[in-house]
């Protein structure tokens, strides 16, 4: 059988990085082919090259046996290659049907198109309303729009980039059904992921990437997770060291019945959110992205100031009216999910980025910044937290995601916070650095500090947290002990359809959440 898609010797380099190094792979018609690799292995670059969004430096692409000479997104579409991006290419201010119309050839016929959208979405079990504004859709719904957009063009090859990172476990299962149906109909699928279990469950074959190179080709249904992981990471991962925790008597941080209107049209409002964190524990906040995590993080950190001081209490002291700087003075540290532009100033040197929050460690005298101290501090953090950087004068945007995360986390921990809030600690962080970051958080909590982790990766939360809250549509469930719950239960709560867990010492009462 002629492969639907074949790559031979694809290479691509960016300044300072060889993203793809002589990569070859082939996908048969109707095959679900995984491209497996950890963050930074070059998967996304490869997909963009296949789709034509980025030109390759070298190599050749064949589609149905024919070489593709001048590549580009338009060529891809003609060849029947469609792509669902990890971060969707949807426009929020216009409707679903308008969004889809933009990528359809020829004249615009919104009415006819809306009909076809309904047809396709019914056929593949992807319910969407074509007339809704995208800004009113949940992340899961947006993904459906993206997939329907591709399906309308009857693709021969569908590329999905980390499609499950925004889905609940239940929604993942439905997505897999749709993908299998497509595969049965003869559509090839390139499935990019770093999640071994999913790949083993869904895919017929897999190409494993590491550091931009192909490190293995295998049938994932036959291979074990450990074998795949070794191909992906190159070595066995260290085991997490989790000691039992000793809790403080009083909560170090509590959020009390916090209500907060969103800042933008697209935001989520927080509804009567309450939580408590004790010293010595890690508390996780699980949820599908876009359910109020960003708003909650901003409210706790002080980037967004709440109306009442008592909404947020740190060690018995109301801090809801204080800005992020004042809260940090009192011992509330924060590591945000966006490292470039929020946790660090991209074009600034690390020493200048040290000043951003560590200025309170005696780096400012008479209004003047002491650059030497900032440098020394940055050098200390680089050494102590294994940051791979040329030194304190390296620019923040020159660091890899993992190393910048280690720097920011180190900087915040060096401020000796009593409570550390970390949002998406391992987004875009390579596996080695992620393990390091998680261990650091565990160690921090075991030394008596309180740690809150907001994450969309359930596995990660189950690995490091003592207790979990689930956020859905701006509401927070009562907390669950990790030992007493499982992925299935949390997954249901993430969709807002699970039964509300019993709050400790409170009469059990099952309540169905409204969607």
């Amino acid at each position: 059988m002629t492969p639907r898609l074949e790559l031979r010797g694809i290479s691509k380099s960016y300044p300072g990085v060889l993203a793809n190094d002589d990569i070859s792979l082939s996908v048969l018609p109707g095959e679900i082919h995984a491209v497996l690799g950890e963050n930074g292995a070059g998967k996304s670059t490869l997909m963009k090259i296949i789709y034509g969004a980025t030109p390759a430096d070298a190599g050749q692409i064949y589609c149905d046996g024919k070489a593709v000479p001048e590549h580009g997104p338009a060529v891809s579409r003609e060849l029947g290659i469609e792509m669902v991006y990890q971060h969707f290419a949807l426009f929020e201010s216009i409707t679903v049907v308008e969004n889809i119309a933009l990528s359809m050839p020829g004249k615009m016929d919104l009415k006819g198109l809306a009909l076809r959208i309904r047809e396709v979405s019914e056929r593949y079990g992807l319910p969407i309303d074509p007339d809704r504004l995208v800004l009113s859709l949940s992340v899961g719904e947006r993904q459906r729009v993206e997939i329907v957009r591709c399906l309308l063009r009857q693709p021969k090859l569908l590329i999905l980039d980390e499609p499950t990172s925004v889905l609940t476990p239940q929604a993942v299962r439905k997505l897999f059904e749709t993908l299998r149906q497509l595969s049965d109909e003869g559509c090839s699928i390139l499935y990019i992921s770093h999640k071994l279990d999913e790949v083993r469950e869904l895919c017929h074959s897999a190409t494993v990437l590491r550091g931009g190179k192909v490190t293995g080709e295998t049938d994932p249904r036959q291979a074990t997770s450990a074998e795949l992981a070794r191909m992906m990471v190159g070595k066995d991962l260290p085991e997490m060291m989790v000691e039992p925790s000793e809790l403080s008597h009083m909560p170090l941080l509590s959020v009390n019945n916090l209500n907060l209107a969103p800042e933008t049209v697209t935001g989520t409002s927080l509804k009567a959110v309450s939580l408590e964190v004790f010293g010595g524990e890690i508390v996780g906040i699980a949820g599908v992205s876009g359910n109020g995590q960003g708003e909650l993080a901003a409210a706790i950190s002080g980037e967004k100031i709440t109306s009442a001081a008592e909404d947020i209490v740190l060690e018995g002291r109301p801090i809801g009216h204080l800005n992020a700087g004042r809260r940090r003075d009192l011992g509330l540290g924060f590591v945000p999910e966006e490292r470039l532009g929020r946790g660090a100033v991209p074009p600034y040197e690390l020493s200048e980025n040290a000043l951003l929050t560590a200025h309170r460690l005696g780096m400012v005298k008479h209004g003047m910044a002491n650059r030497r101290k900032a440098r020394d501090f940055a050098a200390d953090v680089i050494e102590k937290y294994n940051v791979k950087a040329s030194g304190p004068s390296a620019k923040a945007h020159g660091l890899s995601g993992g190393n910048l995360q280690k720097f920011i986390m180190g900087r915040e921990i060096e401020l000796s916070p009593k409570v550390l809030l970390v949002s998406q600690p391992t987004w875009g962080v390579d596996v080695g650095a992620a393990a390091y970051v998680r261990q650091t958080l565990i160690d921090l909590s075991r030394s008596g500090q309180a740690v809150i982790v907001i994450s969309e990766e359930l596995e990660e939360l189950f690995e490091i947290c003592d207790r979990l809250y689930v956020i859905c549509n701006g509401e927070l469930t009562p907390s669950l002990n990790r030992a007493d719950t499982n992925v299935e239960e949390v997954g249901l709560l993430m969709t807002g359809t699970g039964s509300k867990p019993a709050a400790p010492d409170v009469q059990t009462e099952s309540v169905r959440y409204a969607v």
Partner: protein, 306 residues
């Protein structure tokens, strides 16, 4: 009544250059680009219009010259902002200054020579209707054309695929690029349209409204057009409303001076500027209303990744 009719008509006329310039800028900003150089482009249009007129070319050609000059001037901004990814504020200001210089250079020698202005057209039947005729059917062709352009811009933005694409680019150039739109090229076209419209607005001043060449004759109208787009919260209909409001303010001020109000003429002259500030304050306070049609990527440099 006569006074009302004449002031009404004068308002419509005074609003016309603002409508041209602001509609053009609206399209530019909808694509996510902020061109602060309208004042410069209007002046260039005004000067080239006069230049072509005195070169003995027919009026329609003089207008075309102004349109081309405005578009050419906008290209200077376009190259800086779109190709070289310069700070758009700086690039727009550079254009404002450069346009002022170029227009003064082109217009030198034409100063205070009156232009044989474009005249109102008489529409048999319509123009003779009492009151209505005087209010609606006694304008020069460009006034009517400004309404045609309003219709065209509204239709383009909200009824065509290209307009949809333009708005999409203004919201997220990265997404638009990802689904295959040539962001830079479309933005260039938008910028040039803005330049052409500003040039036409400028020519309206020098060939119809004033009608002669005076250095710096736009007197801040380019900046007011910019304010109008904010005032309009990026919606074409409200551009027209705003232009009438400011046109009316200008006429009120002239009228006040004509009937000899016992206030310094400078105070009256300051009215349009003060009104602009007042309206901006009122409109900006409502962030939600501003956010609805706001082109999110406004003034942010874009570079296709890869």
């Amino acid at each position: 009544m006569d006074l009302f009719i004449s002031m009404f008509a004068a308002t419509i006329i005074a609003a016309t250059p603002l409508i041209f310039a602001a509609l053009g800028e609206l399209v530019v900003e909808k694509s996510g680009v902020l061109n602060l150089g309208i004042e410069g482009m209007m002046l260039v249009g005004a000067a080239f219009g006069v230049w072509a007129h005195f070169a003995g070319l027919p009026m329609i050609v003089a207008l075309a010259a102004a349109v081309l000059a405005g578009a050419a001037a906008s290209l200077l901004f376009g190259v800086l902002a779109l190709t070289f990814m310069t700070n758009q504020y700086a690039a727009g200001l550079a254009l404002a200054i450069f346009g002022t210089g170029v227009s003064a250079f082109i217009g030198r020698g034409f100063g205070s020579t009156p232009v044989d202005a474009i005249q109102p057209i008489h529409l048999p039947g319509l123009s003779d209707i009492p009151v209505i005729g005087a209010m609606f059917f006694q304008y020069d062709p460009l006034v009517y054309f400004s309404f045609v352009m309003f219709g065209a811009v509204s239709w383009f933005l909200y009824r065509t695929k290209a307009g949809l694409a333009l708005r999409a680019i203004g919201e997220s150039p990265d997404s638009a690029h990802a689904i295959g739109f040539e962001v830079i090229k479309i933005r260039y076209l938008a910028v040039m349209f803005g330049g052409a419209m500003a040039g036409l607005g400028g020519a309206y001043l020098s060939l119809v409204y004033t009608p002669l060449w005076v250095e710096n004759m736009t007197a801040g109208r380019g900046w007011i057009a910019l304010a109008l787009v904010v005032f309009a919260a990026w919606r074409p209909k409200r551009v027209i409303l705003g232009a009438w409001l400011f046109g009316g303010m200008t006429i009120l001020q002239l009228q006040g001076q004509a009937i000899g109000l016992k206030v310094p003429s400078e105070l009256l002259s300051a009215l349009p500027y003060l009104a602009t500030i007042a309206v901006l304050v009122l409109i900006s306070r409502n962030r939600q209303a501003m956010a609805l049609d706001f082109p999110v990527s406004l003034a942010q440099p874009f570079r296709p990744k890869g």
